[in-house]
């Protein structure tokens, strides 16, 4: 089946229904469908990816929320922030003699008689938020898709010029009421009953703390996923969901009449902001996103060696310039930006390369600190910066914490998507006393650096969640809270030669960082022998070298060859790494 007879974009439910009916014609009982799937998902996958209609699907953003019609196909990109468990729903029921389906819908189209034959199916509820720390350049520009829907959105488009999407602070007042359950809404008093209004206000106050980045323009979404294995969707992973926006934003279950369900505080949605604030989203197709998918015009180019090398040189030049002509620091910076955890052995995270730039005195911070931040922001899709002070440590909630009152996972600053970049600015840290929360937070940061794990607090027990965060620490001396893998004393020689960077160059660099990072890596057996001999020799010469040092060399050598776009380690790169580390060691003396 399939084909153009369905209007997938504007009437996906129609497609769902007609395929269901078609499928029902061949079988008598919907329970014969394998876990309730009759091929609708495949149809959509086929439509979106094989026929590449993918980019025509409008993207759900706070802005587009206002003009996207319910029950049309939309895309949503987000990180899974919380999982709300499974939901049982009437998947199929008999309306008279005809079987109907409720899949991908919140409310049934036809009334289900009390005696109707029903089949119960299951779906997963995921609470998704925009990727924390998503930089403006990585935000999906919806221009391409809006063009199609031009007819009735033109006036909005005028209000929202292109530049605004690029601009990092999208605090357009008109969008605020969409993204956040602002107090304004309560004052409007447009809610049908007093009861629900007061409930909403209670929710409004609580859901503020839920947003990882409480910005006005973030759109949280409750995604309902069908028929996917549990291992496919994990916490903190970034996905693009294609599906339907729930049709009826007004529906709120009304607890007037139910004796039992009222007492069942189990409903995950009970303490939930209403539909208007957090839209419900029925997902047909989901796919995991990597950093590459956040590039603006994602060119699928095979990384050619000379091209990669050229880009590398340019990027290195840029980093060197930004870092005041500190060549060594720039090299380490480049390796650091390419690092990722590629495997875990027991609790050891192999492949991470956290960087601690020391010697950041007050003056140097004022010159380079901000600049460095901007550069990283421009290069990496998701970035964060934590200015570490005693007060911050004592007050901030870094670890996500389960709040059983509202049955939600309250996010913390360390609930980050895989591949996020985190700058911890320790230069403002002064002597002070840490309270118990501060000690706990310091421990969390320490664990993050050392094991790439964050402890989530589920009140009755704690659970370690693995993360993959690149950590850059700026400090005056060696940081004790965050024992980074590499400590590089920063030695700028020139003040600041801010060269203008062209947009093309930036794009190339982003592409480079995103692509090269994903390359596979191996080692030839001869080279392995060389490396082993070198390690043994180094250890014989200097007893203070420990396993971590050796491990770091290997990580660096891996990243070094990756930075050249090569997939196996060469002697040249291995020696470069050793030389680089020697230079660094000299500085440490």
């Amino acid at each position: 089946m399939g084909g153009p007879q369905y209007d997938f974009l504007s009437n996906p439910l129609g497609a769902v229904r007609s395929t269901f009916e078609k499928a029902m014609a061949s079988v008598s009982d919907p329970s014969s469908f394998n876990s309730g799937d009759w091929g609708a998902m495949d149809l959509f996958t086929n439509f979106l990816f094989d026929q590449s209609h993918h980019f025509q699907v409008p993207v759900l953003t706070p802005a587009s929320m206002r003009w996207i019609k319910p029950n049309t196909l939309v895309r949503f990109r987000g990180m899974i922030q919380d999982m709300l468990g499974n939901e049982f729903y009437v998947g199929a029921y008999k309306d008279g003699a005809v079987w109907r389906t409720n899949k991908f819908m919140d409310v049934s189209q036809f009334p289900i008689g009390p005696s109707a034959d029903t089949r119960i199916w299951e779906r997963r509820l995921l609470y998704c938020v925009p990727v924390p720390g998503l930089n403006s350049w990585a935000q999906i520009s919806s221009e391409a898709v809006t063009d199609q829907c031009m007819g009735w959105t033109s006036e909005q488009r005028e209000k929202r010029p292109r530049a605004e999407a690029e601009c990092s602070d999208m605090t357009v007042s008109s969008e605020e009421d969409q993204g956040s359950p602002s107090t304004k809404k309560m004052r409007e008093g447009e809610q049908p009953s007093l009861a629900s209004q007061s409930r909403e206000s209670e929710i409004a106050s609580s859901s503020f703390s839920l947003a990882p980045v409480p910005e006005g323009n973030s759109l949280h979404c409750l995604v309902k996923v069908y028929d996917s294995p549990e291992s496919e969707l994990k916490l903190n992973e970034i996905f693009e969901f294609v599906g339907i926006l729930a049709s009826d934003p007004e529906i709120q279950e009304d607890n007037v009449d139910n004796d039992l369900s009222n007492e069942f505080c189990e409903d995950p949605l009970r303490h939930f902001p209403p539909n208007k604030v957090v839209p419900r989203f029925h997902c047909f197709v989901h796919r995991k996103l990597a950093a590459q998918d956040f590039l603006q015009n994602n060119p699928i180019i095979e990384p050619k060696l000379d091209m990669v090398k050229g880009i590398r040189e340019a990027l290195l030049r840029h980093l060197t310039a930004v870092l005041g002509n500190d060549d060594v620091a720039a090299h380490f910076m480049l390796l650091h930006l390419l690092s990722k955890v590629h495997s875990r052995v027991d609790s050891l995270a192999v492949g991470k390369l956290s960087l601690n730039l020391t010697c950041f005195s007050k003056e140097i911070v004022s010159i380079f600190g901000n600049q460095l931040n901007v550069v990283v922001k421009n290069l990496m899709p998701f970035t964060h910066c934590i200015p570490l002070t005693v007060e911050y440590l004592n007050t901030a909630s870094l670890a996500p914490k389960k709040n059983y009152d509202i049955n939600r996972l309250e996010t913390g600053a360390l609930q980050l998507a895989e591949g996020s970049h985190l700058i911890v600015d320790e230069t403002k840290l002064e002597a002070g006393t840490l309270n118990s929360l501060g000690v706990e937070n310091a421990r969390l940061l320490n664990n993050l650096v050392e094991w790439q794990k964050v402890e989530y607090d589920f009140k009755y027990y704690k659970m370690d969640m693995t993360t993959d965060v690149q950590l850059l620490v700026l400090s005056e001396g060696k940081s004790n809270i965050l024992p980074a893998d590499v400590i590089v004393p920063f030695r700028p020689s020139a003040a600041n030669c801010s060269e203008a960077v062209t947009a093309e160059a930036l794009e190339a660099w982003r592409w480079y960082l995103a692509t090269v990072r994903q390359l596979p890596h191996s080692i030839e057996s001869e080279m392995q022998q060389v490396v082993e001999n070198d390690l043994v020799a180094a250890r014989q010469a200097d007893r203070s070298l420990n396993a971590q040092d050796l491990s770091r060399w290997l990580t660096m050598s891996r990243l070094m060859s990756l930075s050249f776009g090569e997939t196996s380690l060469s002697l040249e790169h291995w020696q470069m790494v050793k030389e680089l580390d020697r230079l660094r060691k000299e500085r440490l003396k």
Binding site: S31, D82, M83, G85, N86, F88, Y89, Y93, D106, V107, S108, I112, G113, P114, D117, T118, R119, I120, E230, K234, L235, I251, D257, N258, L260, S261, F264, C265, E266, S343, R344, V345, D346, V350, G351, Y404, N407, Y456, F458, Y460, Y461, M463, T466, I523, V531, N533, L535, V536, R539, Q540, R543, S544, L545, N546, A547, Q548, L550, S551, L554, R558
Partner: protein, 839 residues
């Protein structure tokens, strides 16, 4: 009821109503099940198969929640009559077809709708079960029964007990049911609502036979199902089935009084109505007074104090961490508790719950135009079992389960697991395998790991009648160069033991380790707060950077490490707290790196009083050994480039390891035989003699009776590793070896107390040893020649010259020194500084 129009009988006569596969057919929707209920109810009503009225409280609330009318309500029509033979002739064809392996004594059974479960058969089966089930005899035929008549069945006895204490529930072990009648078990799990109702009925019949006047209703509570599911795996097919899940209670609602029967009074005439029962979750207020004289309208008012209420509570259960897959968050499920189960658990309890998984549709107000197609699920709780650890393990002196976050009932391993573990223990290389499995990513340090293994297993604690007690915990100190992964080892052990506390010496104060007294901010009372050592009672307290700890704090450890208590005398509180903890400490040598020129004691730089309390003191020296380095290099390279999964094949996974340790600690208590005791004594005397070597007593760690105790503990631990009940000679030998290896004693020069670094780093090759022996021989000859016994001493340099002349080759002073030292240890000469004297 829409379905009333459908044919009354159900059975095989109407094809689409009766699934051809008998019990194997699963009903995946509550709608279906509800229908089944209703039909089943109807089909049984004409047969006057009824429940006593008291019974109806059971599932009424739950059934009311489903959109269909409750079965129990329908069944309550003819109250209190015993079941009679059904008369419905429709059922006859069914019986002929429905013979699913169970006998049909009755030619006219009533069927549970949609199944071929015959009510009578189930009834009989249950009756047989309750009457005949005896433990340890699984199959009972009639002949046996005659013989067993004088012994009472397990459940008959239990029922009598329940009657005696006027209890209101009978706990039925599902394993017993299965053993007695697997078919009944299957039916019970699949159709719990129906079968349990019959169960209750049979039970009440039996009760009334035993004690006719017994008024109370007794419910059956099934527990201990053969298989329990995880919360994650509950899915629509489990609806309306009996399930058993484990989890942790996170919330309890307040107790909800639920009305069961209401009594109304007329405001006009004061006439009271008969009790009005709950119907579909509601009580309808009579609109008209029933007294004929009165008949006033809308005059009825509820009499609160004459109504009958039952307790109800809603509890949220959450998954325990070990069931959560990577990258997931814990799932939760609601439990509905009734009557006695209310407040059976409180938040934080780990429980195992048996109940019926149910779904109810989300109710929508009448004003709502659309229908919500959602279902809420909950478990109608039948039985709740607490699996709280503190209570179960309190009295066992050596009882720690080393598994992190595990339920203690998993320490009571099932037989299969025990078999596996025993099988493991029989392997000849179990000791090596366990060693390898301990912290597999930490390279080398096999002997240290062996010591740690002993610490995990522990020796036997002993309490004499005189009150003296001997600890079974083994304390270990790791002293070593930086970067020898001491801390990782500590972390690993900390992870392995649940009660383990990990502290760093620098950040610990004396009170933080033991206990301190504070004023409660609210009441102003002084309260005792436990410190790390008290908190790790029955666990392992890991102290990193032991050397950085203040002397004051360290001195607090003296008591803990030997007496295993913490005594407090401050602010009016005088108390002695238990701190039965093993201490695992690690420290850097005094000069942060090991200085080979100093003696071991000087390097460790801890007071001997404290040192003697450690059973094993490991000197972990960073040996400049190319072999080790190469292995390390290989390891690291493979870590980065190879598939880490393929690396360590032969190691036990961590859960097996923890199970193994827990089982051994719980069940194995090895004892010393006379022969072994002999061996220990001899060995101890040997060490003692070595330590007492003249002029060396200050330089080496001397053996004290404590060391003998350590040896006993170590031997016991080693025997325990093999699951052996008796300590064997080899255990003792290994214990001695561990003790020696730990201190690098093989390489220690007893005269100076220093460690011969050459000896450690390169090991002594055969040729080297020969050369040394030759050297010693030459020196001996010269000394024999030049020095008389009791004669004047000779300077080393003179001796060197002599040696050079006699051998005619270059001789190093150090070699000579070594040779002289060897001679001195033989007692041939004595050394005083640079001069040598024949003794």
């Amino acid at each position: 009821m829409a379905s009333d129009s459908s044919p009354i009988n159900n059975g095989p006569s109407s094809p689409d109503d009766s699934p051809s596969s008998p019990i194997g057919n699963t009903f995946s929707s509550p709608g279906d099940a509800a229908r089944r209920n209703r039909r089943r109810g109807r089909s049984s009503t004409p047969s006057a198969f009824d429940t006593p009225p008291v019974h109806r409280s059971r599932f009424a609330a739950a059934a009311d929640a489903t959109p269909t009318p409750s079965r129990s309500r329908q069944r309550s029509g003819g109250a209190g009559r015993p079941p009679v033979t059904p008369t419905s002739t429709d059922d006859i064809p069914a019986s002929s077809e429905g013979g699913d392996g169970f006998d049909m004594d009755d030619a006219r059974p009533t069927f549970v709708w949609g199944t071929n479960i015959s009510v009578e058969d189930v009834n009989d089966a249950i009756q047989r079960f309750l009457r005949d089930f005896r433990e340890a005899s699984s199959s009972q035929n009639d002949d046996d029964m005659l013989q067993h008549l004088h012994t009472e069945g397990k459940y008959e006895k239990l029922i009598k007990q329940v009657i005696e204490v006027e209890g209101d529930s009978l706990d039925v072990d599902a394993h017993d049911v299965f053993e007695h009648d697997p078919d009944l078990y299957t039916k019970m799990v699949r159709y719990p609502l129906e079968v349990l109702a019959i169960f209750d009925l049979v039970l009440m019949n039996m009760v009334s036979r035993i004690k006719p006047m017994f008024e109370k209703h007794i419910q059956t509570r099934i527990f201990n199902l053969k298989s329990s599911t995880t919360m994650r795996n509950l899915n629509p097919t489990d609806i309306e089935r009996m399930v058993s899940i484990k989890g942790m209670i996170i919330r309890c609602s307040s107790i909800i009084p639920e009305i069961r029967e209401a009594i109304f009074r007329c405001l006009v005439c004061g006439n009271c109505t008969d009790p009005v029962a709950v119907e579909r979750g509601r009580i309808t207020e009579p609109t008209i007074c029933l007294r004929e004289e009165c008949q006033s309208r809308n005059s009825m008012t509820l009499l609160h104090n004459r109504c009958r209420f039952t307790d109800k509570q809603i509890v949220r259960l959450q998954e325990t961490p070990d069931e959560i897959p990577e990258g997931g968050t814990p799932h939760t499920v609601s439990l509905l508790m009734h009557d006695k189960l209310v407040d059976a658990g409180k938040p934080g309890d780990r429980v195992e719950v048996t109940g019926i998984y149910r779904a109810m549709s989300v109710r929508i107000g009448a004003t709502q135009r659309t229908v919500k197609s959602l279902f809420k699920t909950y478990i109608d709780c039948l039985h709740i079992k607490k699996t709280d650890k503190s209570r179960m393990l309190v009295d066992d002196a050596m009882d720690i389960d080393n598994s992190e976050g595990r339920n203690p009932e998993e320490v009571h391993f099932d037989e299969e697991r025990v078999g596996q573990l025993k099988e493991l223990s029989k392997q000849p290389d179990i000791y090596e395998r366990l060693t390898k499995s301990l912290a597999p990513n930490i390279w080398e340090l096999d002997d240290v790991k062996k010591g740690l293994l002993c610490q995990l297993f522990g020796g036997n604690a002993l309490k004499l009648a005189s009150g003296a007690s001997f600890r079974g915990d083994i304390n270990i100190l790791l002293v070593g160069d930086p970067g020898t992964s001491k801390s990782q080892l500590l972390q690993y052990i900390h992870k392995l033991s649940p009660r383990g506390i990990y502290t760093s010496g620098r950040g610990s104060s004396a009170v933080g380790l033991t206990a301190y007294v504070t004023k409660d901010p609210e009441t102003g009372e002084t309260v005792l707060e436990s410190g790390a050592l008290v908190l790790s009672d029955r666990g392992i307290c890991c102290i990193d950077e032991f050397d950085k700890m203040s002397d004051n704090a360290r001195s607090m450890l003296h008591e803990v490490m030997e007496q295993q208590t913490v005594s407090i005398a401050k602010a009016g509180i005088i108390a002695s707290l238990n701190a039965r903890t093993s201490v695992l400490a690690c420290a850097n040598p005094s000069g942060s790196r090991y200085n080979p020129r100093l003696s071991v004691i000087d390097n460790i730089h801890l007071p001997p009083t404290l040192l003697s309390r450690f059973d094993l003191i490991y000197l972990i020296l960073d040996k400049a050994d190319e072999q080790t380095d190469r292995r390390l290099a290989k390891h690291i390279v493979s870590l980065h480039f190879e598939n880490p999964e393929s690396m360590e094949q032969d190691v036990m996974d961590i859960s097996t390891l923890t199970d193994y340790v827990s089982y051994a600690r719980k069940h194995i208590h090895p004892q010393l035989s006379d022969e072994v005791a002999e061996e220990l004594t001899r060995g101890y005397v040997d060490i003692r003699r070595r330590g007492n070597f003249p002029g060396s007593s200050k330089k080496v760690i001397t053996a004290t009776p404590r060391q003998l105790e350590s040896l006993i503990r170590l031997s016991e631990a080693l025997a325990r590793i093999r699951f052996a009940e008796w300590v064997e000679r080899r255990d003792v030998m290994e214990a001695f070896r561990l003790l020696e290896v730990a201190m690098q004693q093989s390489a220690t020069d007893h005269a100076t107390g220093t460690i011969d670094m050459d000896l450690i780093t390169t090991g002594v090759s055969a040729s080297e040893r020969m050369r040394r022996e030759a050297m010693v021989q030459a020196t001996r000859n010269i000394i024999m020649e030049k020095i008389q016994i009791g004669g004047p001493s000779m300077r080393l340099l003179e001796l060197l010259e002599e040696l050079k002349q006699s051998t005619g080759s270059e001789v190093q002073l150090t070699d000579l020194k070594n040779a002289v030292a060897t001679l001195a240890s033989e007692g041939f000469v004595t050394m005083h500084g640079e001069s040598v004297k024949r003794s």
